[in-house]
Symmetry: C4
């Protein structure tokens, strides 16, 4: 019993910690295994490689899947609360990333969904200086959330624009130019406004080209809008961090006598804590 | 008479309000109807779907048009001032979005203009926290207006550039490469400077490729200009909002007694003037 | 003699001023003539239009050229100093924009250079509120000058990158994929790094595609650099303008007694003028 | 012996200095030679030119290589410490830029790697006002380093996205549309998310086009993220430089007598702490 508990504790240290050397080694091995397993799935779809090494890759795929299955079960066993792990973000990713291989027995082709394993590499941020990276991620996240309403508004505007331009192009260009339906026109408009421009469909009439030119210039100009939004938001956030770091000035506020009712230093205006 | 007035008032509450539950339900039903009706128009242009379900989609299109016609008339009836509603932004959109179906009886093909109905979805912002979204929209709008003169100046520069490059490419490349006229050269220059790059026309001589390379690098560099303009404008605007939030708070600083040597309010930390 | 001087003065008012009604009318007529003349040159290159209206367009082209020649001579006559006008920015543009038609008598095809006339439209900014637009132009110009060294540095980096990648792709892909020489490889690299992507040349080997992917991601990431440079520069410039507008605070500095040796107000820290 | 030392010193002045006229002349000749030698290598790959001038270009290539070899040896001889020069950034570049020609005797085709000589042009910044350019370079470098963690995080997100979308497109589109393997799907996803859009591979099914549209809009939106990061970082850096320039000037504030009630230095306007 005690040894069982000890095993569990040791497992917990290895799997869930990230400061100790065995935990780091475990993470490193895990990430290499993940990258290898995704590479195996990807390479297996290349015809030449499949013909030559198909069987070996198939075995490797099963080897990694079984490995990750064992790891998944150990994680449930070693976690403080199995249920909490299972329904956590990583728990779900871990589960989804073993499922496709088993599923492919019944429905061939689904094993390609294994690329979801890539998400497991998020753990890599544990190996690097964790806290700092989490901060960066949270910075980007916070900026995006702060600007999300503006971006939703912007995307809605883009959506309406491509729908209307798509319908107009369908009417102007017609089937000869490849605009065989409004949805296809909308698809073309998205390809154009985002400046991807495959060239599989393109206007061929004078009116169509004029409208397309307008759309391109609009697309080129409005890229400034989301960029501006996010830039401005990040600048504000940077400033907040700066001002937080530089707020209570020790030198002034510790030498000054503050009135009892003061919430701010009357000399330098810094908030008193 | 009174019941008529009551009916009108009740309609007004349902149609024009957005805080009550029946008004929200009405808006939600309306938006679903709009999205469905646009989808019907779009799908009807896909050949396979048209052959199979053309008649049903035709009937649906008329169903939605009549529905929106009734709604339009009710809006006129229920609004405080029919005339003001008719000539308001939403009134015109509502009118234009029922017109194409009736018009298509005389001129087939015009029903595709129904995609204008998409603009009616702007009402969706009423369902979400209205005021906040209006603020975001106004923020984007104000930033764009503040930077509009700079952007007009920039677009003029782009226009002159593409005209001159378009003419030069027509002279350099000629008809074999697809540059069959100056307008087509200008169209190519727009496709290139906006980095869309369909590939339907492209330079094939050494001189043409060199000029194209220059245009691309210019295009790639000057995208920075409108982005910079809008970003800077938005940063200024963000700062204004911030400083408005933190500007000398009347309520505090006029009721507090300040020490003679105080440069900052000791209660709220605002600088004293 | 006096009437000659009067004529000259009157011409000067009409041609070089921009506040009076006749001067504005003159500018407006001029701009319409410029746009029409460029349109004539452009349309004449469209085959269908050339066949049908070629002769009429040819006459129109000469009509506009003679008109602009007369205007050019009048400008020299009416200007305070003919020489200074001739060698000014506008003087050179005006001269260059009549030259191609005369030149095309000897070398056919050069008339297309008439598109340079577009630059004359810069005068349009005189019709609009001149001073404000000049300010905007100067703002953009100043920001670009302030960031020009950083952008030159950036362009040099881009140039070295595309040269090296272009040479590598020539070695990897070879002639079958269209990479027939290093200059063509460099051209492809420019098309790719600027995200234009015509698709006339593209990698077809695994190694080539991998290198291309790297180049794309680099190109996609470094677009941030010039944008960031210009944005930051414009933000700084905006702040300077703001702080200039808000510097000497009347309320404080006019009521305070300043020491004789003070360059700044000792209460609010604003510079004293 | 003394003359040997003198020669060495004179060489050192010419090669490693950049303020004197002979040193500047040497740098200028060097840069012209570098640009010419790279042009020679590039032009030699153009078939027409190779046929006509192949032999002359071959001789020129060897001429430049021997020239640079002599220069390299002189640099080692003239430097204060030969070893330190050899292992410095420029030393390695100088060595690598003569190697390919010698190497091409054994392995033909490797001479194209000579384009690495381009890096030697970095010396050009010595001719221009050196210190300022180094500052600009350091500014860009510092901004990129400050935002590197955020950009790594962003690139990781892009990588995971293109892998998953690439695999999905392989499953949806299959071989007929050119998605012959997952790596090719990933390549397509990179071409799309970076808005390059060659058009060599593109979706042809409805589901594929829908997914592609999503990817494009995501790609179009998230370009805002790295731009925002770098812009914000540069804005912060600009501010730091500004505030450093305007930070409490020791020389003034420690020598001035301040009034007791002064919150700001009355000489330089800096806030007093």
């Amino acid at each position: 019993m005690t040894s069982g508990k000890n095993l569990r504790q040791r497992l917990h240290y290895i799997i869930f910690d990230y400061d100790t050397i065995p935990a780091k080694a475990f993470d490193l091995v895990l990430i290499v295994a993940i990258l290898l397993s995704v590479t195996v799935v990807m390479l297996d779809t290349v015809r030449g490689i499949h013909t030559a090494y198909g069987e070996a890759l198939y075995l490797l795929e099963w080897f990694f899947t079984i490995l990750f299955t064992v790891e998944y079960l150990l994680r449930i066993y070693a976690s403080d609360s199995g249920r909490r792990y299972i329904f956590s973000f990583y728990g779900i990713i871990d589960f989804l990333s073993i499922l496709p291989t088993y599923f492919s027995i019944f429905v061939p082709g689904t094993q390609y969904l294994l690329v979801i394993r890539f998400f497991r590499v998020l753990r890599i941020f544990r190996l690097l200086k964790l806290v700092k990276f989490v901060k960066e991620a949270e910075f980007v996240k916070a900026s995006l959330i702060a600007s999300s309403r503006k971006i939703v508004f912007f995307l809605f505007f883009v959506l309406v624009t491509v729908s209307i331009i798509g319908a107009l192009m369908y009417m102007i260009e017609g089937e000869e130019s490849g605009f065989t339906s409004i949805p296809k026109g909308v698809y073309w408009a998205i390809v154009t406004i985002t400046t991807v421009g495959y060239g599989d469909i393109y206007p061929q009439t004078v009116l169509g080209r004029t409208l397309a030119s307008l759309l391109m210039i609009v697309g080129y100009s409005i890229i400034a809008v989301p960029t501006g939004i996010v830039s401005a938001e990040m600048a504000v956030m940077n400033e907040k961090i700066e001002s937080e770091l530089s707020s209570p000035c020790e030198s002034c506020c510790s030498t000054t006598e503050h009135d009892e009712d003061a919430s701010f230093c009357k000399i330098c205006g810094k908030p008193l804590t």
